[in-house]
């Protein structure tokens, strides 16, 4: 292999989400081994809609995609959002209750009303998270942990504990309809990812988020104001979680107040770190988070397809997160780099002083 090709290959390999893509391919390969026509895509001649296992994966990936994007932004600022699952179910609950009350099963107005209400509520709750973190100064995990608990409670109160169902064709189309032969929900999700990416990267938002995540002190000295940024990031996360909730309830037109969005924060964190964003904050990759979300959707489908009990997946995902934490930890990284630099003597043991991330006044 000549030099140019070699450096291209090493550039691709070093891209953090390369391993995510490898993971997806490995999983698809496993499925194909079990059933050789796993990857087959068929087209319904009457409607032009595509069908097949891959299509199912795309459909399943949509809500995870939304949450992963939001989580990537929050983690980049050095925070975390454990409440995304609960914000999903709040959005789902509010939309179902609204549609049920609206009655008209074909009204586009009702659908828009439900959408608007759902996203507004989840956005407001996200903003509450942001204010508590940046203005009041509460730790992100405490704030979002409380919101996680309270949010699901709010959803239950909205539906009086019931798993509300509703009928509304335009709303139902979101998760069940097709556009250009592909599931509409997936295309909408991709469109939103593209929109968020454009906003974040075309404006200075991405730059400033990364700056405060990497070095909050230096960012402050450069005139960056963290407060508004943090509130925006949690609000965006809330709205995206609301969209994910809409996707989730739209497929069966029912909200399951106990199960919708349950434990999805695990999926989001996993997707984000697989995609190359460090848990400690700083540089983030929305593309990487997308790959991570696709990997998780593929993983979920594979587990079911291979006949492994689906209850095993959370344990497996947790194990993967632990491994990634280890890999991202300083101790392991210095160990690996020490191994690589064979010529240099090992660094002297220095008694480590615990370093706490500086709290920077807004």
């Amino acid at each position: 292999m000549n030099n140019r090709a070699r450096s291209w290959v090493s550039g691709v390999v070093r891209r953090q989400y390369f391993w995510g893509i490898v993971g997806i391919l490995v999983l698809l390969m496993l499925n194909t081994i079990k059933k050789p026509d796993y990857l087959a895509i068929t087209m319904n001649p009457a409607t032009g809609n595509l069908a097949g296992n891959l299509i199912d994966i795309l459909r399943a990936a949509a809500p995870i995609l939304m949450i992963a994007i939001g989580m990537a932004l929050v983690i980049a600022t050095g925070g975390i959002d454990l409440s995304v699952g609960s914000l999903m179910v709040v959005a789902g609950a509010v939309s179902m209750e609204f549609l049920k009350a609206a009655g008209d099963a074909s009204s586009v107005g009702a659908m828009l009303g439900a959408l608007g209400l759902a996203l507004a509520l989840s956005g407001i709750l996200g903003a509450v998270n942001g204010v508590l973190v940046s203005v009041v100064g509460l730790q992100p995990f405490v704030t979002t942990l409380v919101m996680m608990l309270a949010g699901r409670g709010v959803a239950k109160v909205i539906t009086s504990g019931q798993n509300t169902s509703a009928s509304n064709d335009p709303f139902r189309w979101i998760a069940n309809g097709y556009l250009f032969g592909l599931p509409a929900v997936f295309l909408i999700a991709i469109a939103i990812v593209v929109l968020v990416s454009l906003v974040v990267r075309r404006s200075a938002l991405g730059l400033m988020i990364e700056a405060i995540g990497i070095n909050p002190q230096a960012s402050r000295m450069a005139g960056v104001k963290p407060r508004g940024l943090i509130i925006s990031v949690y609000t965006i996360g809330g709205v995206l979680a609301g969209i994910a909730g809409v996707f989730a309830v739209s497929s069966a037109m029912t909200v399951d107040v106990s199960r919708t969005g349950y434990q999805i924060e695990l999926d989001a964190i996993l997707a984000v770190v697989i995609g190359g964003t460090a848990l400690i904050g700083g540089k983030f990759s929305l593309g990487g988070a997308t790959v991570g979300a696709m990997l998780i959707a593929t993983l979920d489908k594979t587990v079911v397809f291979l006949g492994v009990s689906s209850s095993a997946t959370p344990a497996f995902k947790a194990a993967v997160i632990i491994v990634i934490c280890l890999l991202q930890s300083k101790r392991v990284r210095t160990f690996i780099s020490r191994r690589r630099a064979r010529g240099t003597p090992p660094p002297r043991p220095v008694e480590p002083l615990p370093v706490r991330k500086e709290e920077v006044p807004a």
Binding site: S203, A204, L207, A211, I214, Q217, S219, G223, L229, R348
Partner: protein
């Protein structure tokens, strides 16, 4: 007195990637003596202390404690050998009581667990050795003053029967009366035979308390002196590495500035101060003027600069920009008013390591515009091109992460960041520290040029000759306050500045002695 030293450090060398922190340093501590360690930034004082107390391991050299060679692998081991350290940050636990803090790790244990009565009794005994026998050990630590907390920290040394007591910047947060009280106790301990290592940048205090002094510079041993054998001015010159004659020769090439100072100054600060950092100070900066801040480490120059920028909130005083009273409470405020501040600590306050050179360059400009108005690519490219060439940044690759650049080039990029905001006042804090000679000259030239173009500059440097060479007016600071101002001219020399700093108030030194006699 011919007592053997209790601690002897010989030929100590410690190297970190890229810098030799200590190079063949000798140091010794005698029992019953107060020995001060002096040196400017990067001299190696804290490294030497950490080598002695087991925080750092030695690359070469030996440490002898009471004649035996020792290597400490942890602070616990050093403590077990009788070496106690009290750091500037008073490493105690504010949530526990006084007695608990004194005895932490050494509580009296009986059959049913810790015997608090006996433990508190021992605590009171240890405190009594410092004259604090009446302090209730059951009080929360947070309820007593910082000065008393420091004494509590020292009393921990009494608990372990320390033979060596290291005090690292013990007086930074104390007022004059508290310092006098601390010195009484230090002298008492010294008379009881404890060897005391005293580190402080307050020259007056060092001279008042020390029996012996050692000067380090750039990791090397400059000399050990008995207090009676050396005078202040010589000591300062040893610390900055130039002897007095050379200082006399370092004159200013500036003609006496015929600056019209009747016009409204660009920036006026009246009585600006911050508790524990700077006493209320007045200062003016005129448009297009270069003002130099001269002073030793810890004199308050950076603290004053930070207050003028808005990086810190003042406790007192007022700032006027072009005659208008302004509140500078955040760096964003400073930037809004055309003030820029290039910090001395580029690792913590300056570079955003993982971001590229381009991103670091435009950050301050972008922050001023807010997130919604991104700097157009064309303008970004212009800024990048202009400053990478003007400052000769190497490699001139804007898309490289800034952490991959050398220290000097990082410094240049940071300078570019501030220049890109077109400030009316640029504060440069140690802009040439830790960078190679070539880059140094480039930056100095740039500063002179900018001033010529009408920008006001505040130039802070520990290298006195730099300040003398570049400033129109020199503000001299010492021990957290301003001691004088000089208008630069052909007769002004570095020696004058050193003598301003060396000047001391005789009455302060004699007061403790007279109390003792009574």
């Amino acid at each position: 007195m011919d007592r053997p030293p209790i601690v002897e450090m010989k030929g100590i060398s410690i190297e970190f990637p890229g810098v030799k922190a200590l190079d063949d340093v000798d140091f010794r501590l005698f029992p019953g003596e107060v020995h001060s360690l002096l040196g400017e930034n990067g001299a190696g004082k804290s490294t030497l202390i950490k080598a002695l107390t087991g925080v750092y391991q030695l690359d070469s050299g030996t440490i002898l404690v009471e004649g035996e060679e020792r290597r400490f692998r942890s602070t616990a081991e050093a403590q077990a050998a009788g070496i106690a350290t009290v750091y500037q940050e008073i490493n105690l636990c504010p949530n526990l009581t006084v007695g608990e803090n004194v005895m932490l790790g050494h509580e009296v244990r009986k059959r049913f667990g810790i015997d608090w009565r006996a433990t508190h009794r021992l605590a009171t005994e240890a405190l009594a050795k410092l004259g604090l026998g009446g302090l209730d050990p059951r009080r929360p630590l947070s309820s007593i003053s910082l000065a008393l907390q420091q004494l509590v920290a020292i009393s921990r040394a009494m608990v372990i029967n320390a033979k060596v007591l290291i005090l690292d910047e013990p007086t930074s947060s104390l007022d004059a009366a508290e310092v006098a009280a601390l010195f009484r106790i230090i002298r008492q301990l010294r008379d009881e035979g404890v060897a005391i290592l005293f580190v402080s940048h307050f020259l007056d205090q060092v001279f008042a308390i020390s029996d012996r002094l050692t000067v380090l510079r750039n990791g090397r041993f400059e000399g050990e002196y008995l207090r009676g054998d050396i005078d202040r001015a010589t000591l300062i010159s040893k610390m900055i590495g130039k002897d007095l004659d050379a200082l006399k020769a370092l004159g200013s090439s500036q003609p006496t500035a015929a600056r019209d100072r009747s016009a409204t100054p660009l920036l006026t600060a009246v009585g600006i101060g911050r508790k524990g950092a700077l006493q209320p100070t007045d200062i003016d900066v005129h448009p297009g003027e270069v003002v130099g801040f001269a002073g030793l480490l810890g004199s308050g120059r950076t603290e004053l600069a930070r207050l003028l920028y808005g990086a810190d909130r003042p406790d007192s005083g007022q700032v006027l920009v072009n005659g208008e009273p302004t509140h500078l409470h955040t760096p964003a405020d400073g930037l809004e008013h055309g003030i820029a501040y290039a910090t001395e600590n580029r690792r913590d306050d300056g570079i955003i390591g993982d971001l590229t050179v381009r991103e670091n360059l435009i950050l301050a400009v972008q922050a001023g515009r807010g997130w919604a108005r991104p700097l157009p690519r064309r303008e970004q490219d212009e800024i990048v091109r202009e400053y990478l060439t003007m400052l000769n940044v190497r490699p001139a690759d804007p898309d490289r992460p800034i952490k991959e650049l050398s220290g000097g080039n990082q410094q240049k990029v940071l300078l570019g960041r501030w220049l890109a905001t077109n400030p009316r006042l640029l504060i440069l804090d140690e802009p040439t520290r830790g960078i190679d000679v070539g880059a140094k000259a480039e930056i100095q030239e740039e500063v002179a040029q900018l001033a010529g173009d009408g920008m006001s500059v505040i130039f802070i440097s520990s290298e006195i000759e730099e300040v003398v060479r570049l400033s129109e007016r020199i503000v001299v600071l010492k021990d957290h306050h301003k001691v004088g101002e000089l208008v630069n001219g052909p007769e002004v020399t570095a020696q004058q500045i050193v003598e301003l700093i060396a000047e001391h108030d005789d009455s302060a030194e004699h007061a403790p002695l007279s109390e003792e006699a009574a």
